[in-house]
């Protein structure tokens, strides 16, 4: 450092440490919720967690790997469908729900082999075709009774109170677990790799990022996550109707949550999920106008606030709640404080304090 100004790369800011502690405290409270809160609050929170799973999964696909899918309802429906199958063949309820999601996740591997070769718009509609086909094939299964659907009868054997608590805990564990996985992946090499792919696939490939492997990891994760959301939804609603589970509205919800919260940010989809949950609670009764509003909001956000509410807040104030990226902090001494490594070649265009990982593609790394 020849000048007396430089940058340190930091991951943990004071705010992100404080908020991480707060997140852990919140989790403890949430874990005890079925013992503390009224039944309708517990049910609402379960629904919220399922929305958050969907939102975070869709963001991992579109915001990080650049894969805009309008067919994630394929996995939502298949997760629930396989859970019914497992339950029908005698596996007890909650393991069946989990296994259903695992089975749908495994099925996504052969699907990925075809779909990931398509680019942007073709991938989007290709996934939609997959969802339609899954819907039609599931409805052919005599077990499902066509569009009439079927109930997961084994769920009725559990008392409503117990069922509520189990659903809640399973949804909570699923949400926290999936968030943790996404968090870990995005902090690691894969996070840098897939963002490089999203920003410029050919350039990423040329510097040695294994494009297909990176996309596939995210695709499988998102398929499993959406399938788990579907089987959890089955756990709360008991009935399975193909039209509902394979409906395009799930994609509309996911796009809305992610766009409003902040595409390509870690915290954004969580914020978007909470907002969607509140909007549904307030306006869900208005039916069709509510859907028109969701679509219109998605357009407005995509055009005018492409980084969503969270991305905008983050950009303006330079705050980071969770340490998922790196920040560059400017300092004014000859040596970096605390022995921290100085950024090797700070880009002059990067403003101090602004997260480096979303506004600019990080240096692509080879995937391990």
């Amino acid at each position: 450092m020849s000048t007396n100004r430089g940058f340190v790369v930091e991951r943990w800011t004071r705010l992100s440490i404080a908020s991480s502690i707060a997140a852990v405290a919140l989790l403890v409270v949430l874990a005890l919720a079925p013992l503390l809160f009224a039944a309708n609050i517990v049910d609402s929170l379960t629904t919220l967690f399922i929305y958050l799973i969907l939102s975070v999964m869709w963001n991992a696909l579109a915001g990080y790997a650049g894969l805009v899918s309008v067919g994630q309802q394929a996995f939502f429906g298949l997760g629930a469908y396989f859970a019914i199958q497992f339950s029908y063949y005698g596996i007890s309820v909650y393991p069946a729900l989990l296994l259903g999601a695992v089975a749908a996740g495994l099925l996504s591997l052969p699907i990925s082999m075809l779909m990931l070769r398509l680019r942007s718009g073709e991938f989007a509609i290709g996934m939609w075709v997959v969802a339609e086909l899954a819907h039609l094939l599931v409805a052919l299964d005599p077990l499902i009774n066509g569009e009439t659907g079927v109930s997961m009868i084994a769920l009725n054997a559990i008392s409503p109170d117990d069922r509520r608590a189990y659903n809640y805990w399973m949804a909570l564990v699923a949400m926290v677990g999936l968030l943790a996985v996404v968090f870990a992946l995005l902090r690691g090499r894969l996070g840098a790799a897939v963002q490089a792919i999203r920003d410029d696939e050919d350039a990423a490939q040329s510097v040695g990022v294994r494009v297909l492997a990176g996309k596939r990891t995210i695709f499988l994760l998102a398929a499993f996550g959406c399938a788990l959301a579907g089987s959890l939804w089955l756990g709360t609603s008991i009935t399975f109707q193909p039209r509902t589970y394979f409906g395009i509205q799930w994609t509309a919800y996911m796009i809305f949550m992610v766009l409003v919260g902040g595409l390509g940010t870690f915290e954004g989809p969580i914020l978007g999920g909470v907002i969607f949950f509140l909007i549904e609670y307030l306006f869900g009764e208005t039916g069709v106008w509510y859907l028109v509003g969701l679509g219109a909001a998605a357009i407005v956000f995509a055009l005018f606030l492409p980084r969503g509410l969270w991305g905008t807040i983050e950009e303006r104030f330079g705050i980071r709640i969770l340490p998922v990226g790196y920040s560059l902090r400017m300092f004014r001494s000859d040596f970096p404080p605390g022995g921290g490594a100085a950024a090797p070649d700070p880009q002059p265009s990067i403003k101090p304090g602004v997260a480096a990982n979303e506004s600019k593609a990080p240096p692509p790394v080879e995937l391990g």
């Binding site: 718009g121 509609i125 055009l303």
Partner: protein, 300 residues
């Protein structure tokens, strides 16, 4: 004999798919945008014609004279106010905005027209079901034949337009490289506006014929988008003559599928689409997707 009839029906249905897919293919070729609201524009146009036919005595064919320019205008506005901004924000944003638009159109139509299944067939009289008898029990419907002929004329006309007119050359130049086209004095903004107008107007035309030969609801749009997309991909993306072939393959697959099983109509169509896709990727990898620039940009 039933198979001959089905084959014929499938080919004629393919004409409808080609008509439907033409605008989708064209817009993708010129602007690299897959318009996820394509099917909903078709249904919007059908609803408008239905509104005119239902409230006045005007024939749907004459109503088209009013509705098609309106659809073209909508397409132009779509480009000016939505797609242009979306395109600047990256490759993924047009998908998000057109998906949002699809949700708005579908549900807006539902709010206005309700969930009823409708058809324009009652408004075109005998034409909806009259047919030529080819042999004792093989018939060709007037309407199906008209749609097929229209698809051929439209696709052929579009190709001639792109090849031989100066506006067509400007469109191809812009599709190839809009920056360079701008350097030689082509107004890329106007070209995109015209391309979007053509695409949405042809979608509207297809929607009206859908409404004449079958039934529709406000939520029929997504299915039409998927059919159009399948026809485009089967025929080779961006290739206008390929679109006709793709439509026919899809139509024949669907009618044969329906002959095997009542549910088979949709399933067979989707399966054929996926098989063609897998086959093409296996044979040629990513580079073989050529068609995009193919007929639009390359000198034929």
């Amino acid at each position: 004999m039933i198979w001959v009839t089905q084959l014929l029906n499938g080919v004629l249905l393919g004409g409808y798919y080609a008509l439907l897919a033409c605008g989708l293919s064209f817009m993708f070729g010129v602007m690299r945008i897959i318009n996820l609201a394509h099917g909903d524009f078709a249904i919007l146009s059908a609803c408008l014609v239905f509104l005119i036919a239902n409230t006045t005595d005007i024939s749907p064919f004459i109503a088209l004279v009013v509705v098609l320019p309106l659809m073209a205008l909508i397409g132009w506005g779509l480009q000016r106010w939505m797609l242009e901004r979306s395109l600047r924000a990256g490759m993924l944003v047009p998908l998000l905005t057109t998906f949002g638009l699809a949700i708005v159109i579908e549900n807006g139509l539902f709010e206005y027209f309700g969930a009823d299944t409708r058809s324009l067939a009652p408004y075109i009289g005998d034409f909806a079901y009259d047919s030529w008898a080819i042999t004792g029990n093989v018939y060709i419907g007037y309407l199906a034949a008209l749609i097929f002929a229209l698809a051929v004329v439209l696709l052929g006309g579009l190709k001639l337009f792109l090849t031989y007119t100066s506006l067509g050359r400007a469109i191809r130049a812009t599709a190839e490289d809009s920056d360079t086209a701008a350097l030689v004095g082509i107004n890329a903004r106007a070209v995109y506006g015209i391309a979007a107008a053509i695409a949405v107007a042809t979608a509207g035309l297809a929607g009206v014929f859908l409404a004449m030969r079958a039934v529709f609801t406000p939520y029929s749009g997504p299915e039409q988008l998927i059919f159009a997309f399948e026809a485009v991909v089967i025929g080779g993306i961006g290739s206008l003559s390929g679109t006709l072939v793709g439509g026919i393959v899809l139509g024949v697959a669907q009618t044969f599928g329906a002959q095997i099983n009542p549910q088979g109509f949709l399933i067979t169509g989707h399966v054929v689409f996926l098989v063609v896709l897998a086959g093409r990727l296996a044979l040629t990898g990513l580079r073989g997707r050529g068609g995009i620039q193919g007929l639009l940009a390359r000198q034929p």
